[in-house]
Symmetry: C3
Subunit: 137 residues, 3 copies
């Protein structure tokens, strides 16, 4: 079994930001030399997510609104007694998920025509990290 591991770094200019990382994952896969297997793409933080969906600007704004509606910013989280202000970002992370597993077939990401991989930052303005780990043969 082969494995290949790389880390992507992000430092977003806004608190919340959605970044298409599909091509970067594909580049890591190409370097790995793995033909059949699984690629894990996972945020290494508890206030950022990774998901698969459409690269359509309007939809991304819809997703951002929807996450804010279901897991709103606000002063009333118990978590804020620690001095933090990012309670909502933890809940957004839990809602959207922090990792995806992508199938690798014949050396390529085996995604549907509209499936794109996104890094979803919910508490940015600082350096954060995603792990890409591919295993297979």
């Amino acid at each position: 079994m082969k494995s290949h591991t790389e880390y992507l770094w992000f430092n977003t200019k806004r608190k919340r930001e959605f970044i298409n990382i599909t091509d970067r994952v594909a580049d890591v896969l190409a370097k790995s030399g793995i033909h059949e297997g699984f690629a894990l793409v996972s945020a290494m933080h508890i206030t950022a997510g990774v998901y698969v969906n459409d690269a359509e600007t309007g939809l991304i704004a819809d997703i951002d609104d929807w996450l804010e509606h279901l897991a709103p910013e606000g002063p009333d989280y118990r978590h804020h007694r620690t001095g933090e202000t990012n309670g909502d970002a933890h809940l957004k992370n839990l809602l959207i998920g922090h990792e995806v597993i992508l199938p690798v077939t014949e050396g390529a990401l085996d995604l549907g025509p509209w499936q794109q991989v996104y890094y979803a930052e919910f508490d940015g303005l600082r350096r954060k990290r995603v792990i890409i780990k591919i295993i297979g043969g």
Copy 2:
């Protein structure tokens, strides 16, 4: 390391539909000859999900109501400016998730007694696809 890949096709008669695919995943596993490993079951679309839960008709109706409550159909999604009408289906996909990883132990899906694998269609009436990819030894 062995790997085995198959695709299931769906073309539901209703816009939203929940289909138990546990036996089909088990059949693919049997063909794979893999004894220990992981089975990925992943929708190849951004308006359909895959999840694990109970094969109970009332609960499935509850899940459908709940998804509609938290990610409702409606005219007001920005995504609809592209001509699409399925903004809700994207959000339902993000809520329920588009993939599961099932453990494979001694040649069988290592699931609890009530765990069943479902394909959740949120924008049907057309051909859509799920990938089943199993890796292991």
Copy 3:
């Protein structure tokens, strides 16, 4: 390819409970002798979840409140016509997710500094199980 499988048992004293299992997963990994690969941690029930987030008491109470807000206990689930009373627990499971995949690098769980693995019980007071399955080399 190597694989290693263990099961953790839980029997919580309360209906809902959040249990940090990071050290137990790390112990299973140490026993596995696997250096590079993936660790699957998955609830074998449809009314319990597994997620990754912060080990902070206030936040855990926030998560519990939030899950109850979005997937409330109540008498009105169709699922209850079967005699069950745990409709909410199924929805909480779907919201938080029932499994995570953790990267294994150089023999250790490759997690960010605040990432902790939690078992989330939504219908406790009885024996329930989590599978930890690690594959790799």
